[in-house]
């Protein structure tokens, strides 16, 4: 993929897969970078239907990620009828064409925020930061967290 800029930085020294070519449509040089195609993406949706059609947070790159990945697993706050799936101001509709599996997972974005569903949980984030310093405390945090946050989701 062509990208303007970046040349002059040390990334060109450590990323030998970045190439510079003559711009075929101009007289300048232009950088090419390889596309990133994830094998699997896990994406949390606002809503999904049972076929995998879904509405994703439009402030994030989730729709792009869904289109770029080989396999896409969607978790969703709500599973609804197809007729109830619409793009909204903050949501992008993504077709089931891109989706491999759907999981109902209310609270799946916690302790970060999820659109109009819930705000970030600052106390939990600070607790995580503290727990992340030690593997045992982290394991305990994750156990407690999954019990308290994923009501009926798993």
């Amino acid at each position: 993929m062509p990208v303007r800029g970046i040349a002059g930085s040390d990334y060109l020294k450590v990323r030998t897969d970045f190439k510079i070519i003559k711009n075929p449509y101009g007289d300048d040089d232009i950088l090419l970078v390889p596309a990133i195609s994830p094998d699997i993406s896990l994406i949390h949706a606002f809503r999904a239907d049972r076929f995998g059609n879904c509405v994703l947070n439009s402030a994030l790159d989730d729709a792009l990620l869904a289109r770029a990945s080989d396999k896409v697993i969607i978790s969703a706050e709500e599973i609804v009828e197809t007729s109830e799936l619409k793009s909204s101001q903050r949501g992008n509709f993504v077709s089931r064409v891109h989706v491999s599996a759907v999981v109902r997972l209310p609270g799946g974005a916690a302790p970060t925020s999820c659109g109009t569903y819930y705000r970030e949980d600052e106390a939990a984030l600070l607790k995580y930061l503290e727990a992340a310093k030690d593997p045992e405390r982290l394991a305990a945090y994750l156990r407690e967290f999954s019990l308290s946050h994923c009501q009926g989701g798993i």
Binding site: V3, R4, G5, I6, A7, G8, S9, D10, Y11, V14, G26, D28, D29, I30, L31, S58, A59, L60, D61, D62, A63, L64, N92
Partner: protein, 247 residues
């Protein structure tokens, strides 16, 4: 670095300096972890630049895009941003910045979060302001250990943008068009040119047009910063808003 004797905080001063650079109608983009630039952009919008477009990553109120950062970076690739703000663990005498690794790249002393979009934005945004929460010999170095964003590009590459100013808690630096090196443009109240040089790890000549004392924030600027700007910034950076502004 805040001097208790001054009637404003360092963050209020730096945000004011950023705001003053923005002209009405210009498009201003603010990235992540940038509360001071966000405050500066919102101050400009609330005062002399009401027709400016302001985009702030991570904000619900100032992020109108429906394709996440894809749409944002596409605008940048088209050269549509007048201002962006970068910082770095290291900034060098030429204006290169390092957000990637301290020490040798293959065996770093400290592995930093990485440059993200900065290598591209530094080239494609017309005026990039570098801001730094500390001004020390460790952060202002002769040559950065790793150039994650280059102040200059090979001549064959299209580059419409680059460094506009460096704003620190002590001073404003600019890049000399003649030598390509940073020069001292103005010194903030409470500091001296000697202080700035003693805390800079490279030779810092005076700006060819002369060094001035930075004009401090005026009453109207402080009123807006402590009122509507603080309120708006608190929705993105609640902790910062609680500490950076004086009551």
């Amino acid at each position: 670095m805040t001097h208790a004797s001054l009637p404003y905080t360092t963050e209020e001063l730096m945000a004011t300096l950023i705001a003053r650079e923005i002209s009405n109608g210009e498009t201003v983009a603010v990235g992540t972890f940038s509360p001071v630039p966000a405050s500066g952009a919102l101050l400009a919008k609330a005062s002399h630049a009401p027709d400016s477009e302001v985009f702030i990553m991570g904000s619900r109120d100032w992020w109108p895009f429906s394709e996440g950062s894809l749409e944002f970076f596409s605008l940048a690739q088209r050269g549509r941003f007048d201002f962006f703000f970068l910082s770095g663990a290291q900034i060098d005498s030429r204006g290169n910045i390092n957000l990637h690794a301290i020490g040798d790249y293959s065996r770093p002393k400290v592995r930093l979060p990485g440059g993200a979009g900065s290598a591209m934005l530094y080239c494609m945004v017309k005026k990039v302001i570098l801001f730094k929460a500390d001004h020390t010999v460790k952060s202002f170095v002769q040559t950065v250990d790793f150039i994650s964003s280059a102040a200059s590009s090979p001549p064959a590459h299209y580059r419409p943008g680059g460094l506009h100013q460096v704003i620190t808690p002590l001073a404003v630096l600019v890049r000399s068009a003649a030598t390509g090196s940073l020069e001292l443009r103005s010194v903030h109240p409470g500091a001296s040119a000697e202080d700035v040089r003693a805390n800079t790890g490279f030779n810092l000549p005076d700006y060819s047009g002369g060094v001035t004392e930075t004009a401090p924030p005026g009453p109207e600027e402080l009123k807006l910063l402590r009122g509507p700007v603080r309120e708006s910034v608190a929705r993105i950076y609640p902790r910062f808003a609680g500490q950076a502004f004086r009551s």
